[in-house]
Symmetry: C2
Subunit: 253 residues, 2 copies
């Protein structure tokens, strides 16, 4: 078992019972108590849990978005396939706006090796392009990064977006519903997505099946804004059907 697996186990155990002792977790995972303590420190720094004497308590019971580090481990295979499909929809030479989030981070991995101009809206993706300069051209938007998320938001980001026009925007919404439209967990984030959509000629939505039919609380816009929606086969059939009646092209990978 790798340390990441163990972190996943711990996070899951806490989500189920709300809290756990160091001893319980050591027994559950087969690791020593010292290792569990170190794990708890790591997860606490990621905002997954809160440390209490003798154990830990979960921090993510409410309707909030789970921390980035946790989401990055969910539906990895689906995200990878979705990202490959999104990348194939983009032509060499295009200018691309890339939203924040784990799915779009995967798209960034693909685009790095393509001759395109990319403006990513998250620090993580900027890192990716920055450290190994490939054929792609990187543009950095201004802004204030939101915690571990790395999503750039605020007036500087909006100003950067309003100064540019993109061929394509790849948007990774937290909630996508034919009826309720596109939604995000964070108001600032939603504002950035709105501005991004307004600055691009073509909008591609990238969302794994778990996002379909879900609604977060910050409204971004009607689902008809998407010219193309790329999702996977775990998406609820009725949602996909609802989209197929509209102008949006749905690709299931």
């Amino acid at each position: 078992m790798t340390n990441t697996d163990r972190h996943g186990l711990i996070a899951q155990a806490l989500r189920e019972s709300g809290s756990a002792t160091v001893q319980d977790l050591a027994e559950l995972t087969g690791a020593s108590e010292m290792t569990i303590r170190r794990d708890l420190d790591t997860l606490a720094a990621q905002g997954v849990l809160e440390r209490v004497r003798g154990g830990a308590r979960t921090l993510l019971l409410r309707g909030e978005e789970p921390p980035f580090a946790l989401r990055a481990r969910e539906a990895v295979e689906a995200k990878r396939r979705i990202a490959a499909e999104v990348s194939s929809l983009i032509t060499d030479g295009e200018t691309v706006l890339l939203d924040s989030g784990t799915t779009c981070l995967e798209v960034a991995r693909h685009l790095r090796q393509r001759p395109v101009t990319v403006m990513p809206l998250s620090l993580q993706a900027i890192h990716l392009f920055g450290e190994t300069p490939g054929p792609a051209t990187l543009m950095v938007p201004g802004g204030r990064p939101r915690a571990a998320e790395g999503a750039l938001t605020g007036p500087l980001t909006l100003a950067s977006l309003s100064a540019l026009r993109f061929d394509t925007a790849v948007i990774g919404c937290c909630g996508v519903s034919a009826a309720e439209g596109l939604t995000a967990y964070d108001l600032d984030d939603a504002a950035v997505k709105k501005a991004g959509i307004a600055s691009a000629r073509r909008i591609i939505g990238a969302a794994d099946g778990s996002k379909l039919g879900r609604t977060a609380y910050a409204y971004v816009g009607p689902s008809a804004l998407l010219h193309t929606l790329v999702t996977d086969s775990t998406a609820p059939a009725e949602e996909v059907a609802a989209f197929e009646g509209t102008s949006t092209v749905v690709k299931t990978v």
Copy 2:
């Protein structure tokens, strides 16, 4: 000997003789020819040298700025001390604009652990703040990063700067001379430095001794723009004396 040491040896050997064979370098460093070949590939990717059959040829004979990877290894101790001094000049709660370059990257290391708001003008420094969130608040300027340098330049950067006002700007000029003023190797960079200086109430110059009295070709402004200049004891005495006759405070560490 570490691989980095060896890279330094190779770079130095090439600067002195202009070119060298793989055999020569293997003998010089005590490494195998295969290792030298791999080193040369690495250094070629950094823009330090050009690969030719049988060996390599230097790329940095002209008056150009050496690549970032090379500068990062020069005068490390001096830069560290200068950075510590600059950091001590900054008060908690200030908003700080941080220039690109290796010296300012060291300053970033210090500021990470301080409750200040920082806008760095290079990707490297942004990484630094992004990966380990400390008490500092990070603001990202927009812009287009210049190659391995990571320095953000262009209209987006200028726009980000003109939208903000900073308490202090830390500027790391390539050339600092009492007579010729502040200069940079790159025109775009110089424009950004100018804009940065215009957006800050207090300007701190950070330059190790080798930069004093040197002139690069892109003019930034008169040396009197600097309220404080932090340098080290290797600075030429006559330059330091010239500065001491002006309003600029010189700190030698």
